[in-house]
């Protein structure tokens, strides 16, 4: 089956796209977990937990994602840890986006109306119950729009992993470019592929937001 140009470039690029999607999906799962861990950690009553969460957030928001990637890729082997590009990519993308997400989680939980917390206390809810049954379910709705942006940033940052030689979409494009020299067509397709993915994330998150905010009149929905 011979596809006419420029569509003949799509199948090889599609292989790279699949890796990019794996990378992004893994990163999103890790980032979400870390965002909750560190975001709620910053609200903890225990000083060391607060301090640890804040340090994590400051370090990963304060340095460049690419520098983080290279640091893990070049420095971890010195500790005897053998690293593959894929897990390192997921780790760094997750750590980076998780730090931004932590601020979103913290802000959203804090923004839940104060009366809700007071009502929970007066009904004899334990702090843990208050958090997971009252505060988080309400906060999640207002987390979604900023989280959507963070996930899109993560998708875009996944292109950086090509620089540590993981054959995801960007890397595939670069090798294909070296083979065929059809630079313009390749990069145009790649740009469209990334754009399509970010639109899917954006629409998906908006759909989720609409679903979760059904029947509510609170939570920052417009």
């Amino acid at each position: 089956m011979a596809l006419s140009p420029p569509f003949d470039l799509v199948p090889p690029l599609y292989q790279g796209l699949l890796i990019t999607l794996q990378l992004t999906a893994g990163g999103i799962v890790l980032a979400t977990a870390l965002a909750f861990l560190a975001g709620l950690g910053k609200l903890s009553h225990h000083r060391p937990v607060r301090w640890l969460s804040a340090t994590y957030v400051e370090i990963f928001r304060g340095t460049s994602a690419l520098v983080q990637l290279f640091w893990f890729y070049f420095v971890l082997p010195h500790f005897g840890v053998h690293v593959e590009a894929m897990p390192v990519g997921i780790l760094v993308l997750g750590l980076n986006a998780g730090a931004y997400g932590a601020e979103v989680v913290r802000g959203s939980v804090n923004a839940v109306a104060k009366g809700q917390r007071e009502a929970a206390v007066s009904l004899g809810f334990s702090p843990r119950q208050t958090l997971w049954r009252i505060l988080v379910p309400q906060a999640v709705v207002s987390m979604l729009p900023p989280m959507s942006n963070i996930y899109i940033e993560l998708l875009k940052n996944s292109a950086l992993v090509s620089l540590v030689t993981l054959s995801e979409l960007t890397f595939t494009a670069m090798t294909l470019r070296a083979d065929t020299l059809r630079t313009g067509a390749i990069f145009s397709i790649v740009l469209l592929m990334y754009f399509g993915c970010s639109q899917v994330i954006s629409l998906g998150m908006r759909g989720l937001e609409a679903r979760l905010s059904r029947g509510r009149d609170l939570g920052g929905i417009r």
Binding site: G62, S64, L66, V67, Q68, F70, A159, T170, T183, F187
Partner: protein, 223 residues
């Protein structure tokens, strides 16, 4: 080279001057890139507000597309594709253009937030005073729209600073390139230069974040 010592202070101090030198390129790229983004962002914001539907829709999609695709690919695109059309820039100029255009899309949204926050009465007053639309926008609305969004713009300045290492991919000898390709690949010691680069980024980001928070507080006092 001994494999035992994990961190060699002597070596770290030896490479530090070279890194600080490269920091100048990084800072220059940040400042020039932001200059471009301030102008480009305003242009896109105006395009987005155009009364001609085709133009405003074009503005929307340009912003959406730039924000929805990786900066790295955009840089590659300008670096490898533009020369095919006979447009040739130095890597540094290409990098500035790429950074500037990417952040123009973000700045356009910042401007938009500022413009939307100006009370409608200001527009109406300008109409009553028989100001032209252009004059209203540039002498009345914009001066009120910009100050409240300066902190948001500051956040993007820091974000852009943290994106400058991407220029290393198109061979601009900024901080990361110097650490990895100039120093690391010659000595095969990456721990010190890489860590120093991280620390330098962290220091500048933390200091500027504090500055922005101060600025924000000042803005709140004024309003």
């Amino acid at each position: 080279m001994d494999g035992e010592t994990l961190w060699d202070w002597g070596y770290a101090l030896e490479v530090l001057p070279q890194l600080l030198q490269a920091m100048r390129i990084t800072l220059m790229a940040t400042v020039c890139g932001m200059g471009l983004a301030l102008v480009g962002g305003l242009f896109l914001a105006i395009l987005r507000r155009s009364r001609i539907p085709a133009l405003s829709r074009a503005g929307f999609w340009i912003i959406e597309f730039i924000r929805g695709t990786p900066l790295l690919i955009q840089l590659y695109f300008y670096f490898y594709v533009l020369p095919d059309f006979g447009i040739r820039f130095s890597p540094f100029a290409t990098g500035l253009f790429g950074l500037g255009l990417h952040y123009s899309a973000y700045m356009a949204e910042v401007y938009r937030a500022g413009i939307d926050s100006v009370p409608k009465g200001q527009w109406e007053a300008a109409v009553a005073l028989n100001f032209s639309r252009r004059r209203t926008f540039f002498t009345l609305i914009l001066p009120q729209a910009v100050p409240p969004v300066i902190p948001a713009a500051g956040n993007y300045l820091v974000a852009m600073f943290k994106d400058t290492p991407l220029l290393s991919a198109i061979t601009v000898a900024e901080l990361l390139y110097t650490a990895k390709d100039d120093i690391g690949s010659q000595t095969f010691r990456y721990i010190e230069p890489m860590t120093l680069v991280g620390v330098l980024f962290l220091a500048v980001s933390l200091i500027s974040a504090r500055g922005i928070r101060g600025l924000e507080r000042k803005m709140e006092l004024k309003t």
